[in-house]
């Protein structure tokens, strides 16, 4: 039981960088623009929290917000894709480093 709880808490605890990556992973699946509700369901965070995340991503130039037909849509930018590529590559390195203990 204790182990299960540990696994669950480790699974659910996402860093800010993980969240940014996950938001972008969902957004790239909506090239026509992602609605905030759909993105929130995909990422698994409430809309109000996602709104703050998207504001930060917009500030960093990783996403772009546009209003089309009175609807607010979010898009990933080329810089966002660059971040995503770097994020997964870094995760790849960590996967390799994770096997070795420093003596």
């Amino acid at each position: 039981m204790g182990d299960m709880l540990m696994v669950r808490s480790r699974e659910t605890k996402r860093s800010r960088t993980d969240l940014y990556a996950q938001v972008l992973e969902v957004l790239i699946r909506y090239p026509e623009g992602g609605k905030i509700t759909r993105v929130s369901y995909g990422v698994g965070v409430p809309v109000d929290r996602l709104r703050r995340i998207l504001e930060a991503l917009n500030e960093y130039g990783l996403t772009r917000k546009m209003t089309v037909d009175e609807q607010t849509l979010y898009f990933s930018t080329p810089r966002g894709l660059e971040f995503l590529d770097t994020y997964w590559k870094m995760k790849g390195f960590l996967e390799i480093f994770g096997d070795k203990k420093i003596k």
Binding site: A21, Q22, V26, R29, Y41, G42, P46, K89, K91, I96
Partner: protein, 427 residues
């Protein structure tokens, strides 16, 4: 055409709707027969909808309900009021057949199988089996049984039984129970296939695990890839670590990181790279060009072997032309038509590193038609028709049939021997 609307929270018993069906929030559709409910038009979800039995329709659509938060000010006290909109969820206690698009903004849960043309779900989809042409899910996809689709695009995680998929693109993790993914597999986090998988091009950024007997066109591992048995792939690119617990068959292997094979490595064309390869069995290839660390029981290259770094071969390295670059250390016998030791490092190929210029090149015994021992190089016993020892090189023993050239400053520990016939090479 008679459209029908089931009001919020109510249950309607139906067998056929000739038109569109609108299902209110928390409303239930009860099938009046075992075949289920047939809707000739569109099914529209206003919120959570439940279907008891099978459902067949033209398409499924849902609304988006935006959540909002507002600041309210009461007597100078500020507070935030969250208005969380209801989300659309479809639950079917049977099979779901959609002729066109299944589009639900939050989640779909089907006890039986889903058959649809296109599936577009924002959050999560769960089913016993799925068959569609294209599926896009923002969050998670869980399919207990067979998962058939031409294109799968999931932002979070995929868990599925046996698969028959064209392209698979997953942001987080994918775990499948074997089958075939004929196109590209791009997984950001982890990819696991618990049973034998036939694949097109597999790109794993994080960790990948394949069952033994898996077969594909290309494997690229940026992180770590494990094959729990034999692996067959036309191209293998080990950017990170590839561990194969069996034999490996390929046309081309490129090692940037580390390749570990507990069986043998059979490469029909070329092995190249600057990383390290540890092969418990034999290595067989046409061309070998590595400048890292290479360990194997026996290496055979039909054409050429160009190595720099540390080479450890228990039963030797054989190639038509063997080149051991400057500063390398080679343990094990070298066999070839022409064996050249101590040649300058191929800088275009990362030949510097710690095997730099100025370091001694050391090799063990050589069996060749022609052996050239370059400057700052030392060999054990040399058996060749023609032997050249260049300046400041050395050998322990030289046995030749035709010609021996020893440059000034080169040395041989034992008296050179000219013979009629050379001893046979170990293999």
């Amino acid at each position: 055409m008679t459209d029908l609307r089931i009001p919020r929270g109510q249950t309607a018993t139906l067998d056929r709707v000739d038109g569109h069906l609108r299902i209110g929030n928390h409303a239930t559709v009860q099938s009046s027969n075992v075949k289920g409910v047939v809707v000739t038009g569109r099914v529209y979800l206003e919120g959570k909808a439940y279907v008891n039995g099978n459902l067949e329709c033209d398409s499924v659509e849902s609304e988006s309900f935006l959540s909002e938060h507002r600041e309210i000010n009461v007597g100078g006290q500020r507070a935030r009021l969250d208005l969380i909109g209801r989300y659309t969820h479809l639950e079917v206690n049977g099979n779901l057949t959609v002729h066109k698009q299944l589009s639900v903004s939050h989640s779909v849960e089907v006890k039986g199988a889903i058959t649809a043309s296109d599936i577009d779900v924002g959050g999560k989809i769960e089913a016993d089996a799925v068959k569609c042409s294209r599926i896009r899910v923002g969050g998670r996809t869980e399919v207990k049984g067979m998962f058939e689709a031409e294109s799968v695009d999931v932002g979070g995680k995929v868990e599925a039984g046996p698969v028959k998929i064209g392209d698979l693109n997953v942001g987080g993790e994918a775990e499948v129970d074997g089958g075939s993914i004929t196109g590209n597999i791009r997984v950001g986090g982890r990819f696991i296939s618990k049973s034998k998988l036939e694949f097109g091009e597999l790109l794993v950024y994080g960790k990948g695990a394949l069952a033994g007997g898996s077969k594909g066109r290309k494997v690229s591992a940026f992180g770590k890839l494990e094959a729990d048995g034999d692996l067959i792939s036309d191209v293998i690119e080990a950017g990170g670590i590839i561990e194969i617990k069996g034999d490996c068959h390929a046309q081309h292997v490129e090692i940037g990181g580390k390749l570990e094979v507990s069986g043998s490595l059979y490469v029909s064309e070329r092995i190249e790279g600057v990383g390290s390869a540890e092969v418990e069995g034999n290595v067989e290839t046409a061309h070998l060009k590595v400048s890292g660390k290479l360990e194997a029981d026996r290496i055979t290259a039909k054409e050429d072997a160009d190595v720099s770094g540390k080479i450890e071969v228990d039963h030797g390295l054989k190639a038509a032309q063997v080149t051991v670059r400057s500063g390398s250390r080679c343990e094990g016998v070298l066999i070839g038509e022409r064996v050249e030791v101590g040649k300058s490092a191929d800088l275009s190929y990362g030949g510097w590193g710690k095997w730099g210029v100025g370091a001694m090149t050391r090799v063990d015994d050589i069996y060749a038609k022609e052996a050239i021992i370059g400057a700052m190089s030392t060999a054990g016993r040399i058996f060749a028709n023609k032997i050249t020892l260049e300046q400041s090189s050395s050998a322990w023993q030289v046995t030749y049939t035709d010609e021996l050239k020893i440059a000034q400053g080169a040395g041989v520990s034992e008296q050179p021997r000219k013979v009629e016939n050379l001893p046979k090479s170990p293999f």
